[in-house]
Amino acid sequence: MKHGFLKYGFLVVALVAALAPVYWMFTISLKSEVDHFAFPPPWFTFTPTLEHYYDAFVTRSFGQYLITSAIVAVVSTLFALVLGTLAAYALARFRLPYDLDRRLSLWILSTRMFPAIVTAVPLFLMMRDLTLLDTKASLIIVYTSFNLPFVVWMMRGFFDEVPRDLEEAALVDGDSRLGALVRVVLPLVAPGLAATAVFCLIVSWNEFLFALVLTQTDASMTLPVGIAGRVTQYEIKWGVMSAAGAVAIVPILVFAMAMQKYLVRGLSLGAVKE
């Protein structure tokens, strides 16, 4: 009994700590502006209103930001997964001369070792010269390149777990290297792929710094930049920001829940006799 109390006690504390800001944001998005600043705050008893949602998504361009965010996040995640998975497979399976497979892996990882802000100015100048400023393409390129090292390292670990015999069997059975990868290896690393995809999507969806530096126009702005833009010299639009924030959570939440069954599924069970 005592044990159970402790266990649930900790769970409740952790849950409250994690969910309190979300609850706060969600209630703010539904409260009228007067209630925002009431003290003590009306925790549960207030008249809900959708005016901030209307303001954000109809009057202002948050709908546009949402679409931009979705396109940038999904496309960059797809690119990073495809490129990173192929690179990781090559690094996991082929021995390159001069120990290159190991060195390349480290070089790839090293691109994550400096603070992102260091590359902000160079990237801005590059995108300006390529006339890609204020385009979704610029963000897709940048996010893809930032997610790549992560994908390569994650997937490499998963590929290492898959017995080589399986691909060799597929090759002898008459499949091509790529066919063996797609039909035999990828299904076995699907849980890893799902976890990696969730992470990439979250990073791209929430990214703020580069979106701020590289995009200025309504048509190219992502949700995080759009939300932050409501903090202005004259006012802070808590309601609009909260409404947009509440909506921003939903896609990631749905995606992560959809991926959950892959995340927990066992890896290559029964592949080879232990």
């Binding site: 017995p163 015999d165 399986l166 060799e168 069997a169 597929a170 090759l171 002898v172 059975d173 008459g174 499949d175 091509s176 066919g179 039909r183 035999v184 299904p187 076995l188 290559s268 069970l269 029964g270 592949a271 080879v272 006799k273």
Partner: protein, 348 residues
């Protein structure tokens, strides 16, 4: 299909795993590559499959040089030691995989899968996943996946080594029947000399990457090319005694065996355990010995003997009884003896 290895060498760094191997396998043969672990037999098989790159030399299938042909275009089928079943596919999908890759239509695929499943008696398993199968069942599935199409040759890498003893003997027999039925060239790798003897039309014995002898099982057993082959094939192993030949008699300490040979100062005689008869009473011309230990096998008894500093093993009938350290007398069938050069180990 005929397969030919011509001066094939495989080196990993400075280590030559397979060294100057030349081997010609005729169409329809069942060739067993036999040797202890690390002798290069698996590497040889993998080179044939295209899973390892040949360092020097050439491999031909039907006179077509296949060194640079990619694995998937070699049209071979392989059974792996680990079985390498695809864990995410059902048994039916596993077996159909080689057909699916070759773009056979679904109807034909199902038909062929059902055929081999019936042949190997695994019809009931078709909807299961590999992890739900026992070792013996997985082995059958791996076999089914290999024979579902008609490849140029079957390659088998210790396919029975993960099975328990009883199942191993059973599957051994079935493999032999299957190959007889299909008549497809088969290359089979094993370190188990019993498998080699029972399955092969010809056995290639390897050691340290070098081919020691390539001959029929009977010739390997009766006429081993060197001491290694003589020792590796046969259970219990052949007895070896170092000695000399003096006036038509092999002499080593108290052992004297008539030998129709020229005098030699140093050579090794090899005698199989079944060519030594053990008697508990003195016999005319028999060699006195002491029982070290006896092992009753059920149908026969292995008698471990001391003759001076020499240790010998003899096969005796199951009813043979002798106490440890008791005196016995040996008769050796001298005409069945093998002679080896003590230095080189070569048969002489």
């Amino acid at each position: 299909m005929g397969i030919r290895f011509q001066n094939v060498t495989k080196a990993f760094g400075n280590t030559r795993v397979v060294n100057d191997l030349s081997l010609e396998i005729a169409d329809g043969e069942f060739v067993v590559l036999l040797g202890p672990s690390g002798c290069g037999k698996t590497t040889t098989l993998r080179m044939l499959a295209g899973l390892e790159i040949v360092t020097t030399g050439d491999i031909y299938i039907d006179e077509e040089r296949i060194n640079d042909v990619q694995t998937q275009h070699r049209d071979l089928a392989m059974v792996f030691q680990s079985y390498a079943l695809y864990p995410h596919m059902t048994i039916a999908e596993n077996i159909a995989y080689p057909l699916r890759v070759r773009k056979l239509d679904k109807q034909e695929r199902t038909k062929r899968v059902n055929e081999v499943a019936r042949m190997l008696e695994i019809e009931a398993l078709l909807d299961r996943k590999p992890r739900q199968l026992s070792g013996g069942e997985r082995q059958r599935v791996a076999l089914a996946r290999a024979i579902v199409r008609e490849p140029r040759a079957y390659l088998m890498d210790e396919p029975l080594s993960n099975l328990d003893a009883r199942l191993r003997v059973q599957m051994r027999g079935e493999l032999k029947r299957l190959q007889h039925q299909l008549g497809t060239t088969t290359i089979y790798v094993t370190h188990d000399q019993a498998e080699a003897m029972t399955l092969a039309t010809r056995v290639a014995v390897m050691k340290h990457g070098r081919l020691q002898q390539f001959d029929t099982p009977l010739n390997i057993y009766n006429h081993p090319a060197n001491r290694f082959v003589a020792e590796f094939v046969g259970s219990p192993s052949m007895n070896f005694i170092d000695g000399k030949i003096d006036g038509g008699v092999f002499v080593s300490e108290s052992i004297r065996i008539p030998a129709d040979r020229e005098d030699a100062t140093q050579l090794t005689i090899g005698i199989r355990p079944e060519h030594i008869s053990v008697f508990t009473r003195p016999q005319n011309g028999a060699i006195p010995a002491t029982v070290y230990v006896t092992e009753l096998m059920g149908n026969e008894t292995f008698v471990f003997l001391s003759v001076g500093n020499n240790r010998l093993i003899a096969r005796a009938p199951a009813d043979f009884r002798a106490e440890v350290e008791s005196p016995v007398w040996l008769q050796i069938e001298s005409d069945k003896a093998h002679f080896f050069d003590t230095q080189t180990g070569l048969s002489i």
